[in-house]
């Protein structure tokens, strides 16, 4: 069963095409890393998958059981969050909003869900801490917990390990792999940590200015584009 399908999708900003004619299918349970240089439209593509930006042509189709508001999203952190006074609990609970609709407040159901996600990611001891006082790795775990509150089957992450040290990066990728394998959650992630991406992801999407590659990680490493990219990265 497919989870997300892109059918000849293009995106443009003010007549400037940033992503052109992508076609690929993400199956349920896949772990996909999107890599590529800056300005090749990775974030734009992700916004499109989330329904935040309309493709200029083509279609993005979600799997039958997924509603757009039920995609978990871990966006890049904003500068405003640096000194934002919010407890971890408040942040994680805010992921449950999509199931509340117009009703104010949170019910027992949402609170249980949020607590489960804290347990799942091993951060129950952070519950009362302030988000701004956490380390980079802890912050990403909290944002991941929030996205899992919103998500049923699919999470999208936009460069989640930016600014993390190598150990925290490795840990975060492990966590994602665990969610992916154990709970069958489909993961789509924009990544700059190439080594970790190749080590954990089972599919790779490589975007460059004028072309793209989509396939399994093995296929990518075997391909001409992959070998060139990997050589450049390892120099």
């Amino acid at each position: 069963m497919f989870c997300l399908k892109c059918d000849h999708v293009s995106f443009s900003y003010e007549n400037q095409v940033v992503v052109s004619d992508l076609s690929f299918t993400v199956e349920e349970g896949d772990y996909l890393c999107i890599i590529g240089e800056n300005g090749t439209g990775k974030s734009t593509l992700m916004k499109g998958m989330l329904g935040l930006k309309k493709p200029s042509s083509g279609k993005i189709i979600l799997g039958e059981e997924i509603r757009p508001s039920e995609i978990g999203y871990v966006p890049q952190q904003t500068p405003a969050q640096k000194d934002f006074p919010a407890s971890v609990w408040e942040v994680v609970l805010s992921g449950c909003l999509n199931s509340r609709g117009i009703r104010p407040g949170f019910g027992a159901l949402e609170k249980r869900l949020a607590w489960e996600k804290l347990q799942l990611l091993g951060i129950t001891d952070l519950k009362e801490k302030s988000f701004r006082d956490l380390s980079g790795g802890q912050k990403q775990r909290v944002l991941l917990a929030r996205s899992l509150c919103a998500a049923k089957k699919l999470i999208l992450l936009d460069e989640p390990t930016t600014g993390l040290d190598p150990v925290a990066t490795e840990e975060f990728y492990h966590l994602l792999l665990n969610l992916n394998k154990k709970y069958q959650i489909t993961v789509i992630m924009i990544s700059h940590a190439i080594r970790e991406a190749f080590a954990h992801a089972d599919h790779i999407m490589y975007l460059s200015q004028d072309s793209y590659f989509y396939g399994t990680t093995e296929e990518y490493l075997d391909s001409e584009a992959g070998r060139r990219f990997f050589r450049r990265c390892s120099v």
Binding site: I71, T78, F84, P85, F106
Partner: protein, 272 residues
Amino acid sequence: MIQYLAEMFSYPFMVRALVAGILLSLCAALLGVSLVLKRYSMIGDGLSHVGFGALAVASALNLAPLMVAIPVVILAAFLLLRLSESGKMRGDAATAVFSTGALAIGVMVVSLSTGMNSDLNSYLFGSILAMSKRDVVLSVILSVVVLSFYLFFYEKLFAVTFDENFARATGIRTGIYNSMLAVLTAIVVVLGMRMMGALLISSLIVFPALTSMRLFKSYRSVILSSVVLAAVSFCLGMCISFLYGTPAGASIVVVDVILFMICAFVSWMRER
């Protein structure tokens, strides 16, 4: 002391100023938390200058001041928010252009129509006598609207303020909440500026939030503390103003500054 207070409450204009002022301070503090956290601290300042320009034009043309100022300032609020979103001109630059431009226009109109007299002074620095019965009624209505907006949409407002992209992705229509913030802020600014003065009204918006952020670590506690701080500093400021005959707006801001420094010091001590 008690005698002074009793005397203070014996003037109807003081009672009006207190009631309307406390309500407006509460609204400003609530909206201020979101605005400060969204990096729109200067928007109140920009809007009050636009309000000043609009009031000056309205009085020169003999129009009802609020009927002109409220729509103009709401429009300015929308433009400022839209400009900061589109990214063609940075929000802070846009605010600077708006506020100095509108201030200049206002000063020109006032000096051409009435000459530079005390009117200008009371526009810029506010007057305690400015609150009429109608202002009190408007302030009550406004604060009911702001309070219910905050209570009913508390969780959504938190999500939109903390992380707009995530909020949009989970299906929250962020545009509506931003627009509501803009409209309510505009109205608070226009109603409050005649008492606080165009130059000082934005302090009602930024100070309670900033001071609370020194001390508290969760969103809920920052909100609650902002509301309390806003009421306390307003009342203290009014007492000082009454006792020493100083302008109300400036007295309130001075209290705000002192409270901010105390809280900043406490938070500094705590971290050491």
